[in-house]
């Protein structure tokens, strides 16, 4: 893994359109049954413009941005040698259906230890007005080619 990638900041992604049916499907897939995740009226009664994403939905948006690094041949990441080590979401506000989210990918750290490269990325998600929505930190453990 090329440590020269540390500190790299990628250009903003094209906006990701958050769809109501996708939020419902994701909520169902993780067994989230709170009505604000599926019922528009319940979400509006709770003060939201539309149905609300579950707390880890932002990974769907973040992983598209992370692909810029992971699929970059110059980074030398063999995805069959990757294990997900850590994930963290910091929410400024919940994502809701209708949001258009732009993501900037940062490579925060690459730490080599014991034949593993621990690669930490940070995705900064903003809405159509440019206001911050969430930060998504992800650490992958990448085994070396000879390990």
């Amino acid at each position: 893994m090329d440590a020269g990638f540390v500190g790299r900041v990628y250009p903003p992604t094209a906006p990701y359109a958050v769809g109501r049916e996708h939020l419902r499907d994701f909520a169902q897939a993780v067994g989230a049954t709170h009505p604000v995740h599926s019922d528009v009226e319940a979400a509006r009664a709770a003060g939201y413009a539309d149905i609300v994403a579950t707390p880890t939905f932002a990974v769907v948006i973040a992983q598209r941005a992370e692909a810029q690094l992971i699929e970059d041949p110059a980074a030398g990441i063999d995805f069959s040698r990757v294990v997900h080590a850590e994930e963290r979401f910091t929410h400024r506000r919940p994502i809701v259906a209708g949001d258009e989210i732009t993501t900037v990918l940062h490579v925060d750290a690459i730490v080599e230890r014991g034949g593993l490269a621990m690669v930490t990325t940070r995705c900064e998600l903003t809405d159509a007005t440019g206001s911050p929505v969430a930060s998504v930190l992800s650490t992958l453990a990448v085994r070396g080619a000879e390990a």
């Binding site: 897939a29 993780v30 707390p55 992983q63 294990v83 080590a85 979401f89 929410h91 506000r93």
Partner: protein, 136 residues
């Protein structure tokens, strides 16, 4: 909304059963189509005991108990985990995941609390440092 909580208080527990069909649903909904989460042959070829759950499936599922307790997902400020052990999902059969959410820290000045999740299968913890920061 303001909640009164004490350190050590259990705010929720849940038992979740997980089948291969659940992993296929999550693969489609999340876009994480890595075959280790649905293809037994592939999982064994890369040295796993068999198909394992997506770490993000476990993370996403474990936090429901906190959201249901909060009532408003907007009060969930931060959520992080370490993926320490895989959750093998047999076929035929199912994995059983036990979730316990406990108040670890209360900060009255900030109006927040840290809820720690204990997430285990067959008595083995699968997430480390699973911490949820909430607005009280």
């Amino acid at each position: 909304m303001s909640r009164s909580v004490e350190v050590g208080q259990v705010v929720g527990t849940r038992t979740v059963t997980v089948t291969r069909a659940d992993l296929v649903h999550y693969a489609g909904a999340s876009g994480d189509r890595n075959p280790i989460h649905w293809n037994e042959r592939f999982a064994r070829e890369v040295g796993l005991p068999g198909v394992i759950a997506h770490g993000m499936f476990t993370m996403g599922t474990a936090v429901n108990v906190v959201v249901d307790w909060l009532g408003d997902p907007g009060d969930l400020l931060d959520y992080g985990v370490r993926f320490t052990r895989p959750v093998p999902v047999p076929d035929p059969g199912e994995a059983v995941v036990e979730i316990v959410a406990t108040v670890a820290v209360v900060d009255p000045e900030a109006g927040t609390a840290r809820i720690d999740l204990t997430v285990s299968t067959e008595g083995t913890k699968v997430l480390g440092r699973a911490q949820v920061l909430v607005r009280l």
